[in-house]
Amino acid sequence: MTAVRITDAVVTYRTRRESTVAVDGVDLEIASGGSLGIVGESGSGKSTLARAVCGALPLASGSIAFDGETWGARRSPAQRRAVQLVPQDPYSSLDPRMTVRQTLSELLRVHRLVPRGEVATRCAELLRLVRLDPDALDAYPHQFSGGQRQRIALARALAVEPRVLVADEPTSALDVSVQASVVELLVRLQHELRLTLLFISHDLAVVNATCERVAVMHRGRVVEVAERDVFFAAPRDPYSRALLEAVPRLPDAGGPLAADPARDESNPGGSS
């Protein structure tokens, strides 16, 4: 079963003088409960595509279908709930004047997801789901660390019980150790809740940790789609290879460091 099918999608941005094609004929699909990572550099069109999948931007042509049904940018509340975005910067997506409880219970009430009497219980449940203490419900966004805020953004996305989660660089603003724990949480929740995941990132290591398939975007086009293991070991496209070669790696975790004669000269023989 294909949960998300993107067919020949084109997205253009118009300014007064010119129009720019940001996404240029993209075909992609994600199986139900599957995960696809889209990697690419700034300007590749990956975030634009993510916004189109969420219905935040209209397609100039092509289509995006969910479970076989084509949805445009004008979506019913139920359709909007089904596809949720986890943004890069949770600070700008959470209302600074609302406590976590207010944010979550408003969503639950507006969308009538649980009976009124169960809103409080569900709020606590959502926080536990993202491994936060329900005591945190009465705090404001600024009282949390970056990693905690990202967990809250995740809880907010999960509150409306989506089928598809679109994560746009959800860990790139976080410290390394926090990043690892958020990635782990996301992977676990995706499996537990059988979510379909579209994961946008410039960070190949994060995509390797989260997604079973990888698509590479470059200048609005998909240049390669492959299973994770195939992609990382033997990318077919020269641009994919250039990306992978550019990634700094730890000496013992993923082969030799990129050649740097200066360092090699000053560290003859390495160590240990």
Binding site: L243, G255, S271
Partner: protein, 263 residues
Amino acid sequence: MSVAPGALRVRGLQVRSDSRLLVDDVSFAVDPGEALGIVGESGSGKSLTLRAILGLPPRGVRVTGGEIEVGGRVGMVFQDPLTALDPLSRVGAQVASASRAARGGSRAAARAHALELLEQVRLPDAARRLRAYPHELSGGQRQRVVIALALASGPAILLCDEPTTALDVTVQREVLDLLSRLRRERELSIVFVSHDLPVVAAVCDRVLVMTGGRVVESGPTLDVVRSPRHPYTRSLRDAVLPVPPLSAAAATPGVSPEGKERS
């Protein structure tokens, strides 16, 4: 007592805000031409240490103890090239005025020096781009301009604060390669601050690990990465998400991304 040209010695550095000790008894030395990495997460004190060496601690923060000895001028490369550059003046003029402030001389000489510096950092089409404004350049090109600005005073030591964090991975690789080349060609010493251990490992011979304002471990990069002694270093290393190795067999010969530096 003074240090050799290009050397840096920090002893017992202490930095505090009104209420808190932010950098506590940090000591290290950099030999001329050496690249030292300082790794740590936000709040570790790594950037404050750098700002203290530069002599420009952020507002509300004071250096309250320790000695810093520097063998020559110091240049600084900041994380975000957009905020490090003046959006309202042309990049050539910015580099020229930095050069003139440091070395004096005529306007014409400063302009010539600016062009020379922008060529040295391999800003593509430098002669024409002298007249560009920062927003007309890509992120990588802007970071090259910021590096040229830092080089304008003829520094012996280059301080780099997360210089590639805001950049795309292929552009990051170009800037890291550029820093390594400048270090060789100009015999620069480099102090490179980053939260990213693999990035530091790509540039630095030696690394210092900081957390909570203190140095918990230091040593040759390879030793620290392969056999960390301090639990914090180990957790930092283990948090690095791996990228599987590329198989060499499938290499596509003759293909390299545009502008990639390998020297």
